[in-house]
């Protein structure tokens, strides 16, 4: 049932393109795009571009998550830390992170570190904010119960605070990964000379539209797999708490 509408859209597109109702130059038939997609995957260059994007994404995500989760937890536990860091979070969070790219480009030079860090920055702020929210919105009764049963300090943190904040942390990681992908593909589109985002840009400029749509479809599939996969993982790993978002 759920595949009916997408299938109908594809069939309609195929017909319109084949019958030249829409310009096949700009809207090549899905079967043409599919053919190019398999050719390019077989030739290896599409896979190589995917690998470049995935590698950048992995580095960006790790660079964001490793400092962001502890910082968010620390801000949730220690009020002075929160007061010091909060104004910067509030200032930077609504800013499009792609605007950090030119700054990183002049400081680090044109290259991978600047690209990856731009992607990392967009995930970083999301993860910090979600983690902080997870600690702040936990049921205070849990803390009381934990204390009454003699948990203090590290024990209270490990046995009560961390498990309570874990669903929010996971949601933050999931959203952060999505944001990092979006920002990285935009960076590739704008500045990098490799990766899926750059592939879409290059084929757009050369008007080789079947290749453009093939790269486009691959980005869509990547986004779908990441968001769906993490959702499923979250549901499996954190069975004791309902997801903070649907």
């Amino acid at each position: 049932m759920s595949a009916v509408v997408p299938a109908a859209v594809l069939v309609l597109w195929e017909l319109c393109s084949r019958l030249a109702i829409v310009s096949p130059r700009y809207f090549p038939a899905p079967t043409t795009v599919g053919g190019v997609l398999t050719d390019r995957v077989a030739a290896g260059d599409l896979g190589a571009a995917l690998l470049v994007t995935l590698t950048r994404l992995a580095f960006a995500f790790a660079l964001a998550a490793v400092p962001a989760v502890p910082l968010g937890l620390l801000m949730g536990i220690a009020r002075p830390v929160r007061h010091v860091v909060e104004p910067y979070l509030a200032f930077i969070f609504p800013v499009p992170k792609i605007t950090l790219l030119p700054f990183l480009l002049i400081i680090l030079g044109v290259g991978e570190p600047a690209f990856v860090l731009t992607g990392a920055s967009s995930a970083f702020f999301q993860i910090v904010i979600s983690t902080l929210a997870g600690v702040q919105t936990m049921d205070p009764r849990l803390l009381d119960v934990g204390r009454n049963y003699g948990a203090h300090g590290l024990r209270l943190f490990r046995k009560v605070i961390l498990p309570a904040a874990l669903p929010a942390i996971f949601t933050g990681l999931r959203l952060g990964l999505g944001l990092a992908l979006v920002t990285l593909v935009a960076v590739e589109f704008i500045a990098a000379k490799s990766g899926l985002g750059h592939l879409v840009y290059r084929h757009w400029q050369m008007l080789s539209t079947p290749e453009m749509y093939a790269a486009f479809a691959l980005v869509g599939a990547l986004g779908l797999v990441l968001t769906r996969g993490l959702h499923a993982l979250q549901a499996r790993v954190l069975t004791w708490q309902e997801d903070l978002g649907g």
Binding site: H83, V85, P102, I190, G223, R228, G245
Partner: protein
């Protein structure tokens, strides 16, 4: 005076920390500890910001950005709320569109620029349409969710008391979904800004994104910082301003946070 003292003890670190950072940045750049080429002194940046504002450059680039945000947000809001409501009300439509949306939504919005430039006149219209894509999905998702989370009992009670069709929609369903619609609009507005700036970097000669990118290309670092500051200010204004506006105009409508 007493109130000021109390306010300061409460918010002292929050206000003091940025001031301390700016002062030490000023000092470090002046003494050469930070390379002034990359990190110009805040006072220099401020002077450049004033110059840009006085000779009209800044407004010349801010006005197109604001207009694009306005257009793309309006487009996304009208379509998003309408389709979101329809998807919330009719199960068949929702089941049909959900898989399509699920595939398209995670695609980074900048990538829609080539597609949009094939479908509508390239240039300004394509830019606005591209910037509307992500906001549209966000608003549609939250609106659908808003309709669906309405308590069945409330709807049944309304039907029982004779509310049908338009009346049921206007007096029960729409007010019930309103908090979610507002959250969707707030998030959508934020995303409009993000995508407009990104697309301006790629393909516009005017606008704050274009100014930022141009300043980088000719290595006017002070102008880069000044532009960044204006974009950040705009972001803060849009996200916190809208939240404050909602709190004032619709105090009974709670903000439900990000339901994604």
């Amino acid at each position: 005076m007493k109130a000021l003292g109390r306010w300061l003890t409460e918010h002292g670190t929050t206000v003091g920390s940025p001031i301390a950072l700016l002062l030490s940045w000023e000092w470090a750049s002046a003494t050469g500890l930070l390379r002034a080429v990359f990190f110009p002194r805040p006072s220099t940046i401020l002077a450049h910001l004033r110059d840009l504002a006085l000779d009209g450059t800044l407004w010349g680039h801010t006005a197109p950005t604001l207009a694009r945000i306005g257009w793309s947000f309006s487009l996304a809001a009208v379509l998003g709320v309408a389709i979101g409501l329809a998807m919330g009300l009719w199960r068949r439509l929702r089941e049909g569109l959900d898989p399509v949306f699920a595939v398209i939504y995670p695609i980074p919005s900048v990538l829609f620029l080539p597609l949009a430039s094939f479908m509508v006149p390239a240039g300004e219209v394509a830019l606005v349409v591209t910037s509307a894509v992500t906001s549209f999905f966000l608003i549609a998702f939250t609106t659908t969710h808003g309709v669906r989370q309405i308590d069945r009992l409330v709807v049944e009670a309304a039907v029982h008391y004779g509310a049908r069709g338009w009346r049921l929609f206007a007096t029960v369903l729409l007010p019930g979904a309103l908090p979610f619609i507002f959250t969707g609009l707030r998030l959508g507005l934020g995303f409009s800004l993000i995508v407009v700036v990104a697309v301006e970097i790629v393909s516009a000669s005017r606008g704050l994104g274009a100014l930022l990118w141009l300043s980088w290309q000719i290595l006017k670092v002070e102008d880069m910082y000044a532009t960044f500051f204006v974009i950040a200010l705009l972001g803060a204004l849009l996200s916190y301003g809208l939240a404050a506006l909602r709190a004032r105009l619709l105090p009974w409508v709670p903000d439900v946070g990000d339901p994604r």
